[in-house]
């Protein structure tokens, strides 16, 4: 038993390094997509202290809108622009109809409101687009669908070009987002709002504008995530479930930290794959990915309740 836990997995890694690389690559792809979903949560939480339960359904809704518009004969890239317009409209509507009337209410009320948004978007999406699985317009968007086959150490490493594209686009999106938050006036306003609501309002930062902006950015992230996941196995309401994988990422990385979301996503993506392949499948019968990330996050929380990169909040009683 001790051999199976402490020696055999590492021997397997050493004797089949190409397979180890494949495991790490698959973990990286999953991890970067978890990180993207987590980023959507973090942005909204930072600016409004709202835990946006609707992030998962926003991924589905954005992807369905894109595919649905294309099915109506609209050219692919126009579909992307129109989908962004829809996500902007959604951000404005949520701010006007849901968030503005709830300003000043306890956080739990706002959280419950995002559950309401989730249920509403599920219903609306099903009425407009139906519940059938749909094919993502991968090729129409110019995303290559072939594989790159490498033979490291005489082995086999298969890299899907659409996964490579997803990793590159996600990385660029993260860089652009960081630049926006750090280098632009609006970005700094978002951060200021996250640091201190009252102080930010007192210097003339518009709460309404910022909320629309962060929900729109979350919508952009949702669209990119929806395209990347949808290209892997089609677009359906099952995609919403993947958003729950972002929860341990947030627990691990910290709810306010963009760096935490990225590092947490990558860590969970790669570690859960390594654990599943080298320990979970041989010793526990597999399917450990459903719980591994949560256990890892809970262990981290035992030592750092604010997550790896979260801010330590001390409240006087």
């Amino acid at each position: 038993m001790l051999n199976d836990i402490f020696i055999k997995p590492f021997v397997d890694m050493f004797t089949a390094p190409d397979f180890l690389l494949q495991v790490l690559w698959e973990g990286l792809v999953s991890g970067i997509l978890y990180a993207l979903i987590a980023l959507g949560f973090v942005l909204i939480f930072r600016s409004s202290r709202i835990f946006n339960f609707a992030q998962g359904i926003m991924v589905v809704f954005a992807a369905l809108t894109l595919v649905g518009l294309h099915a109506m004969g609209v050219p692919a890239w126009i579909c992307v622009l129109l989908t962004l317009a829809v996500m902007f409209g959604l951000a404005v509507t949520i701010e006007r109809v849901v968030l503005r009337p709830l300003v000043g209410q306890p956080d739990i009320i706002l959280f419950m409101a995002t559950i309401g948004i989730t249920l509403f978007l599920i219903g609306l999406g099903e009425i407009i687009f139906g519940g059938e699985n749909k094919v993502m317009i991968t090729e129409e968007l110019g995303i290559p669908t072939d594989s790159v086959v490498l033979e490291p150490w005489g082995g086999l490493l298969i890299l899907e070009q659409k996964d490579i594209t997803a990793v590159i686009v996600a990385a660029l999106l993260v860089v652009a987002l960081l630049a926006f938050l750090n280098k632009t006036r609006m970005g700094r306003a978002i951060r200021a709002l996250g640091d201190d609501h009252q102080a930010a309002l007192s210097v003339g930062i518009s709460l309404q504008q910022i909320w629309v902006l962060v929900w729109f950015i979350a919508g952009i992230i949702a669209l990119v995530t929806g395209i990347a996941w949808g290209a892997r196995a089609g677009v359906s309401f099952a995609l919403e479930v993947i958003a729950y994988k972002a929860l341990p990422v947030l627990m691990l990385g910290g709810l306010e930290s963009i760096t935490g979301a990225i590092v947490g996503g990558l860590m969970i993506g790669m570690l859960e794959k390594l654990f599943e392949i080298y320990w979970g499948q041989p010793l526990l019968g597999g399917n450990t990915e459903t719980w591994f990330a949560f256990v890892l996050a809970l262990i981290v929380l035992l030592f750092r309740p604010q997550g790896l990169f979260g801010e330590r909040i001390i409240e006087r009683v």
């Binding site: 494949q22 059938e132 309401f237 099952a238």
Partner: protein
Amino acid sequence: MKTFTRIAVAATLGAVMGTTAMAEGLYAPNLAYRTGPFAATGIPLMNGQADYMNMLNARDGGIGGVMIDFDECETGYSTEKGVECYEKTKGKAIVTQPWSTGITLQVLPKSNIDEIPILAPGYGFSPMADGKVFQWAFNTPLSYWDGASIILKYLQDQGDLSGKKIAFLHLDHPFGKEPLPYLEQKAEAQGFELVPIPVGLKEMQNQSAQWLQIRRERPDYVIMWGWGAMNAGAITEAVKTKFPMENMLGVWWSGHDADLKIVGEDGKGYKSVSWSFPNPDAPVMADVKQHVVDAGNSQSNEEEMQGVFYSRGLVISAILAEGIAVAQEHTGKAEISPADLRWGLENLNFTEERLEELGMTGMVPPFSTSCSNHTGHSGGWILEWDGAKFVKASDLIMPDSEAISELEMAKAQEYAEANAPWPVNEDCEM
């Protein structure tokens, strides 16, 4: 204003009473799932079921002169919601169609008390075939163990399975685990290695870990017991990892046209066992088009209607309709009770002639049921994806009834003992 209010109230009451009058008849609820992660597979099935019943209502005025009140209660494939739907509809229902193995297992003990037949065509608990023990449950025309048996027989025909390795990729859910006892027994008897690979509900669209395991294990065949989004996830991963498609076979719920269309040509060679097959030229299709589709009462579309799942939905409703018709003939009354319907479902006889009369030739294999045989064990075809649609790749293959019936009886007995006191049908001779 007062007059307006009165008119409005009268109109509302009239509408309500009218609806009630329209809804009278034999109440046949369907615990449907048109929403949630499994909606993609549910919608064409539910559409087929509803269209067939609507066609009977429009064409024949129902069955035996009584309209069928075919009602859907949405479960989202959730076991909890399914049980709620069962409780909500059981009052006047002559049947319950639970539409999930999880819901079926929950409803199974209740059926003895409520005395309502459970109709679970092609799903549920395989030992339900033993009608003496499971008096109220029907899983016609094939059980999951039958399906597993047909797949193994087909593979055996391709070459001896002794010494081979078979990966069993399945949803980590009662449905996915259902064929395991049979497969484990056969692995021991036939000398092949069985590698069970579970897929969690949250991992259905991200099965890279499962397919890495398949790459490492290098199985000769992959048998898939998938449902909903799991099917598309598995097939795209199989294409990605370049697993030979001709060595991958699925249960009938893993043979959905829309899932294969995602990979198109790359999925060529993938196979699925099936107890139904679309026949666009069948008279029943023309009747559905004339009485339901053209009348604007169908939720389906032309593409979906040509698929395997829509066609299966039609067959499922035809099984229920036939059970009702047989019961009406036996009792001599049009308004049958749930107990009458149970008799009808225990005396189904789908011969080639009867299928022709129903306009469904070639859409389901002939089968018959009895009080002791609630499945019928019709046999199934192996369907193959040709890049654009499923085509038949085999003649009808019959399951290994001898081995299955032994296991069925043993497990049924085990279930009855574990749930004692469990009433059995003493009047039924085996």
